[in-house]
Each structure stands twice: as structure tokens, then as C-alpha cells.
């Protein structure tokens, strides 16, 4: 009954929008990346990644992103599992609790971590009152990783929680029925069946962690130079847009690479909806 042809034309404005605001900008960045100041073709903006400074930043970014993702996963899975076991009727409440912090400005939240972690900050006053040794982690890689874990943790929890909600309770019961104890049921049934959520979560944490530059600015104090910081500086300080674009392309390649690796792991994935 619905005139599908005619209704599908409703997407036309969006299709045009996608062409202009999604696809075209990518060609622009590619154009800048493959040219120099004078506008002639060059690959030097891409090969610039081999520069030891850039290479070091890239490696550092990958390391920080890796640890951020791993810690997020380790923290998030139990959270999702506990929340799932609560069998809440109102699932929106869970989303609500994890989205709410975003309404406090992101910059301020990271700044608050600066205040918490600083040498005479809240954490250390608590530690010294308890008679424990104080920590001096602000402006280190550890602080940057902690800030990123903080910022991206909800992106890991929500997809895993969603995936767990989709598992048929009877399947879990069937495992117990066939003699599996809690641990076997978890490793053989629950974990594999929540794989899609884990992979979504990994992508949603790893990609922004790889490319972030604000957290490292605030909690790294300029001492932790990630690839995102290098790119930002090329645009704002050095004003070398071509080099900045080149490095962005390299970053994109790494993002695509990591996603295709994840998709290989998840051979059964059908569609790329991350939320």
C-alpha cells in the first residue's frame, strides 16, 4: 500500500547532505594531504609519519588507546552484567545514568580530574589522611589513560548491556540444565553471545581514544604528545594544513585498520550500527 518509491524520496535531502557534509570533506582532506603549499602533488605529508617525533606520538597514542580500551572493557563488563542481572523493567534508566554526566561540560569534567589528581589535590589528601603514600600521576601517561577511561566508559557499558539484554534467558537456563556451573555458563554462553556488544564497545572506545587531544592536553600537561595533539598543532600553531591533513589520513587508516580487525573477529556481524 505504501508507495515505496515515492516515500524513499524523503531521503533525498539527506542524501544530498551526506554528499556535501560527509563525503566531500573527506575528499578535501585527501586533497590537502596529497599536495604541498604550492598545490602540487606530493606524498611527503603521508610519509611524514616516519618522522621519529610523529612515530613516537603514534605509538604512544596506540598504547594509550589500547590500555584505555582494555581497562574500559574490564571495568564495563561486570557493570553491564550486574545491571542486566537486576532485570530492570525500565531500561531507559540505565542509559539515563550513564548519559547524564555528559551534561556537565566535558572540559570541566576533565578539569575536575586535574583537581582530583594534582599533587595537593583531593585524592592525595584522602590518601594522606588514611596514612597511605600519595600518588604523583598528574601530567603522566597514567593520568591521560585514566581520563580517557573516565570519558569513554559509558560507550563500553551501554552496548554490552544492550547485547546482554538480547540474550534469551532460556538459553542461559539451558546451559545450567545441561550441567554448566556459573563460570562455564558465562564463558561458553553469555560471553560469546554478547560478542557483538563487546566489539561495538571496543570500536566506540578505541577510535576516540586513538584520536583524542584534549584529555592529553589537560591531564598530560603538554608532556604527553599524542598523534591528535600533533595534528592539532599543525593546524593551530604551525599552520601547516597539508601536513596536518596527511597525518589525519594516516590516523584514519589506523582507525579503519582497527575496525576491520575487529570486524574480522566478529565474522557474524551484520551491519555497523554502533549504538
Amino acid at each position: 500500500m505504501i508507495n515505496k518509491m515515492r516515500t524513499s524520496f524523503l531521503a533525498t535531502p539527506y542524501a544530498i547532505w551526506v554528499m556535501i557534509c560527509t563525503i566531500l570533506p573527506l575528499f578535501y582532506i585527501l586533497g590537502y594531504a596529497l599536495t604541498n603549499d604550492a598545490g602540487s602533488f606530493t606524498l611527503s605529508n603521508l610519509t611524514a609519519i616516519a618522522d621519529p617525533v610523529h612515530l613516537k606520538s603514534l605509538w604512544l597514542s596506540i598504547r594509550v588507546a589500547f590500555f584505555t580500551t582494555a581497562i574500559c572493557l574490564l571495568l564495563a563488563y561486570p557493570v553491564a552484567l550486574i545491571l542486566h542481572n537486576l532485570k530492570l523493567t525500565n531500561k531507559g534508566l540505565v542509559v539515563f545514568l550513564f548519559i547524564l554526566p555528559m551534561w556537565m561540560n566535558f572540559m570541566l569534567r576533565i578539569l575536575a580530574w586535574q583537581i582530583i589528581l594534582s599533587n595537593n589535590g583531593i585524592l592525595n589528601s584522602i590518601l594522606s589522611t588514611l596514612g597511605l603514600p600519595t600518588l604523583h600521576i598528574l601530567y603522566t601517561e597514567t593520568a591521560v589513560t585514566l581520563g580517557m577511561v573516565y570519558d569513554f566508559l559509558p560507550y563500553m557499558i551501554l552496548p554490552i548491556y544492550n547485547a546482554l539484554s538480547k540474550i534469551n534467558d532460556q538459553v542461559v537456563e539451558a546451559a545450567a540444565d545441561l550441567g554448566a556451573n556459573w563460570w562455564t555458563t558465562f564463558t561458553k554462553v553469555t560471553l560469546p553471545l554478547s560478542k557483538d556488544g563487546i566489539i561495538s564497545g571496543i570500536i566506540m572506545v578505541f577510535v576516540p581514544a586513538l584520536s583524542s587531544f584534549v584529555v592529553s592536553n589537560l591531564l598530560g600537561g603538554g608532556k604527553v604528545l599524542l598523534i591528535g595533539n600533533v595534528i592539532e598543532q599543525e593546524f593551530t600553531l604551525a599552520r601547516n594544513w597539508n601536513l596536518g591533513s596527511g597525518l589525519s589520513i594516516i590516523l584514519m587508516i589506523f582507525v579503519l585498520l582497527s575496525m576491520s580487525v575487529m570486524n574480522k573477529v566478529d565474522d557474524s556481524e551484520n551491519g555497523g550500527m554502533p549504538v
Binding site: M1, Y14, A15, C21, N105, I116, S118, V214
Partner: protein, 264 residues
């Protein structure tokens, strides 16, 4: 054993929520701190709240932020909802292409999205509020689409057909049958767009040009000189407003569900 497990679970959840909300607590406390120092408690005050409206810098940034956030999320919601309906009725292959393109801003690194949009905009228009709004629409439309589309997919085609069978025009059938079903998706898409736009720094930073400041970008420039405490006050107000708003929406939603349950 079971009790121990329960206790451990609750403790763990509490710790995670402490982790997520500790910085917010710190900021709220700071908004009442009489000292300019970030680490010393100088007594309770409301002066930062009182000073807020007379701080032109902050009020201007707030105005810009609200303008950008509201405009972009409203446009994103309209564009995204029509797009979702269109995509839903497309041929399968076209749907896949459109969804692939829609995923790009979600999966691409923010910094790359910001830079690529900036490179495009500088060619055609001076950077400013307008370019920021365009950029915000660009990254929030996917959230709307991915919130509306599942609603459409779970909607039975038979409902629409039944409505037309009973004599409704397609427009009327859409309004009476389809729209109420997808509305929750549209609303959550809108809220998501609102949240993402309000919380965004990176893309705004690259597409804003000189002279325009949202709260996020203003904070970024103030980081080195020190934050004006009025900003803690403003953020606390915004946070509490959001908290109240989301609470109302959430409870209204669950109250309605409750009614439906009872009717069964």
C-alpha cells in the same frame, strides 16, 4: 555465598558510579567555594551564581551554545527523521549504502571530522556560528537516524495498511499510526543530538573560526589563565536542569508503560 555476591555487586556498582560522578561532585562543590583557588575550601558562597548574569563573556558564550545546540539538533532531528523514513522504504542495496555513509561521522575520529569540515567550509563561507551549526548537524544526524530506524523496522506494515483500508489517506494514516510509534525514537534521537552537540568540543573547535565561542571552547582558552568560577556555577545549573528534565521524561515514560501493563 549469594549474599556475598550481591554485596560485592552493589559495592562494585557504587564504586563505578562514584568514579563517573566524582568529578561532577567536585565541580558542584567548587561552584559554592568562596576561594578562587581550586584546591582550597574558602567557605560557602553563592556569589558566583549571583555574578553569573553580569558576566558578559560567559553569557555570550552561553547564548551561542544554546543557539548552536538548539538549531543544530532541531534541524538534525527533522533531517534525520525524514531520512530514516526514506531509507526504510528504499531498496535493500540503497539502504546499505545510505547506512554506510551515515556511519562515517560516528566511526570517524572527531578530529578528522572537524578538520575535514573546516577544510570544506573555509572554501565557501567564513567560519563562524553558521559553519559550527552545519558541522553539528553533520555529526548529530546519524544519532537521530539510528534512533528512529529501529522504531520503523519494528512497526508492522499491516498497521499502516489497516489504517488506509479503513479509509484513511496516507498522510492521515502516517500521522495517526506511524508517527505515534516512531515518536519515542524521534525524541530520544533529538535528546541524543542535543547532548552530543552540547558536549562537543573538538568539532566546534576546528569549525568555529575566530571570535565565536561556545562554553566548551571558551573553557579551553581559559584553561591556562584559570577558570572563572562563574563557569562552575553555570555548569552546575545546566547539569541540574538536565537532571530534572531527563528525570521527568524518564518517569513519564515509565508511568505510561505502567498504565499499559495494567491494561493488559
Amino acid at each position: 555465598m549469594n549474599k556475598f555476591k550481591k554485596g560485592a555487586s552493589s559495592l562494585y556498582l557504587a564504586l563505578i558510579f562514584l568514579f563517573l560522578y566524582a568529578p561532577i561532585l567536585v565541580l558542584i562543590v567548587l561552584s559554592f567555594n568562596d576561594s578562587m583557588s581550586r584546591t582550597v575550601w574558602g567557605g560557602f558562597t553563592l556569589k558566583w551564581y549571583a555574578n553569573l548574569s553580569s558576566n558578559d563573556n560567559i553569557m555570550e558564550a552561553l547564548g551561542t551554545t544554546i543557539k548552536i545546540t538548539l538549531t543544530s539538533s532541531i534541524f538534525a532531528t527533522i533531517l534525520g527523521t525524514t531520512a530514516a523514513i526514506g531509507i526504510h522504504y528504499m531498496k535493500k542495496r540503497h539502504t546499505a549504502i545510505m547506512l554506510g555513509a551515515t556511519n562515517i561521522p560516528l566511526l570517524n575520529a572527531d578530529i578528522v571530522t572537524g578538520i575535514s569540515l573546516m577544510l570544506l567550509f573555509t572554501r565557501f563561507t567564513p567560519l563562524g556560528e553558521f559553519s559550527v551549526i552545519l558541522a553539528h548537524i553533520a555529526f548529530s544526524v546519524p544519532y537521530v537516524i539510528f534512533n528512529v530506524l529501529p522504531r520503523l523496522q519494528s512497526l508492522s506494515e499491516a498497521c499502516f495498511e489497516a489504517a488506509t483500508d479503513l479509509g484513511a489517506t496516507p498522510m492521515y494514516a502516517f500521522y495517526k499510526v506511524v508517527w505515534p510509534e516512531i515518536f519515542p525514537g524521534v525524541l530520544s534521537g533529538f535528546l541524543m543530538a542535543l547532548t552530543m552537540s552540547l558536549d562537543d568540543f573538538t568539532i566546534t573547535y576546528f569549525t568555529k573560526g575566530a571570535g565565536v565561542n561556545t562554553l566548551s571552547t571558551m573553557l579551553y582558552t581559559q584553561l591556562r589563565k584559570g577558570i572563572q568560577p562563574e563557569l562552575y556555577a553555570l555548569s552546575t545549573i545546566l547539569f541540574l536542569l538536565a537532571f530534572a528534565l531527563l528525570l521527568v521524561i524518564n518517569f513519564k515514560g515509565s508511568a505510561r508503560k505502567e498504565v499499559v501493563k495494567n491494561e493488559k
